[in-house]
């Protein structure tokens, strides 16, 4: 009896091992990178607002039409502008955003080099 129970447990463990919640993984990946425009600080994936739900349906539709994620991003960018993407591209409005961390990093590095290395 004990072996039988163990066998059932092992069987179930092996069986459930194959269950993944990845049916919508591609859709989820894309909607996580899209900003919900009418919510504050939420992605389309996180939000359950009317707008976000429609966006999810539309992303599904575009995926079924065979569009790649990049094409979907540029599709929404064309409609709503850069703001809808969480990962904005480098252009004349965002160059400061991209370059400032590098400049700060270099500046901080220079201070460290100056105070620790040259002092000695």
């Amino acid at each position: 009896m004990k072996t039988f129970k163990t066998l059932i447990i092992i069987f179930h463990l092996l069986f459930f091992n194959n269950l993944y919640a990845n049916e919508n993984s591609e859709r989820n990946e894309i909607t996580k990178n899209l900003r919900c425009l009418i919510c504050q600080g939420q992605s389309v994936y996180d939000s359950d607002s009317d707008f976000a739900n429609s966006m999810k349906i539309l992303v599904d539709k575009k995926l079924n039409e065979g569009l790649s994620d990049k094409e979907i991003y540029s599709y929404f960018k064309e409609k709503y502008g850069d703001w809808i993407l969480y990962d904005p591209g480098l252009n004349k409005n965002t160059y400061l955003l991209w370059l400032l961390p590098i400049l700060i990093f270099l500046f901080g590095g220079a201070i460290i080099v100056k105070s620790f290395i040259f002092k000695k």
């Binding site: 425009l37 009418i38 504050q40 009317d50 707008f51 739900n53 429609s54 966006m55 349906i57 539309l58 539709k61 064309e78 409609k79 709503y80 502008g81 703001w83 809808i84």
Partner: protein, 172 residues
């Protein structure tokens, strides 16, 4: 000299930060998307509200005419406010007013029109909200002015008397 440089630069840095933050206090934190104009209108086909046919966008929008596409819903209070403006616009035969019924049920939409009048030449249904996203809208009410299959103007929120005059001047 070198000893004075550090406090001065700190003061300058804090002053700059103060100005930047103070300025952004005045900004609204509600985002309105860039109004992208001169975009081509999307191609779609949609069911009509008052009959069971489906319409292609090509059948609705022809060249050389001004169209107003208004996204509305019976549950949307601002739509009720702007309705009289749309009635006036539809009377002024310069425009053809097209309605897009957003996430609504047919019965409520029809009684809304019975109550306030029907300014729309054609009404199409956007049951799940995807069509309005294809237009670049994000809620109701929203109004697009279309000429030669291009969006020449877009208004987010309800129309008012001021915008009514602005829209009338567009055709000149």
């Amino acid at each position: 000299m070198k000893q004075k440089l550090v406090p001065y630069s700190i003061i300058v840095i804090f002053f700059v930060i103060f100005v930047v933050f103070y300025k952004s206090l005045e900004d609204t934190n509600i985002y309105t998307p860039e109004v992208k104009i001169n975009n081509d209108i999307p191609i779609f086909s949609a069911e009509r509200l008052l009959s069971n046919e489906t319409l292609d966008s090509k059948e609705i929008f022809q060249l050389d005419k001004f169209y107003i596409l208004n996204i509305w819903s019976s549950w949307c209070a601002p739509c009720r406010d702007e309705h009289s403006i749309l009635m006036d616009l539809s009377k002024s035969n310069k425009f053809i007013v097209i309605g897009m019924n957003y996430k609504d049920n047919k019965k409520n939409a029809k009684s809304f029109l019975d109550e306030l009048g029907n300014p729309y030449e054609k009404i199409i249904i956007d049951k799940n909200g995807t069509k309005s996203i294809e237009w670049g809208a994000f809620g109701v009410p929203e109004t697009f002015i279309i000429y030669n299959n291009k969006i020449i103007k877009k208004y987010i929120g309800p129309l008012n008397q001021e915008l009514f005059l602005e829209i009338q001047n567009l055709t000149k």
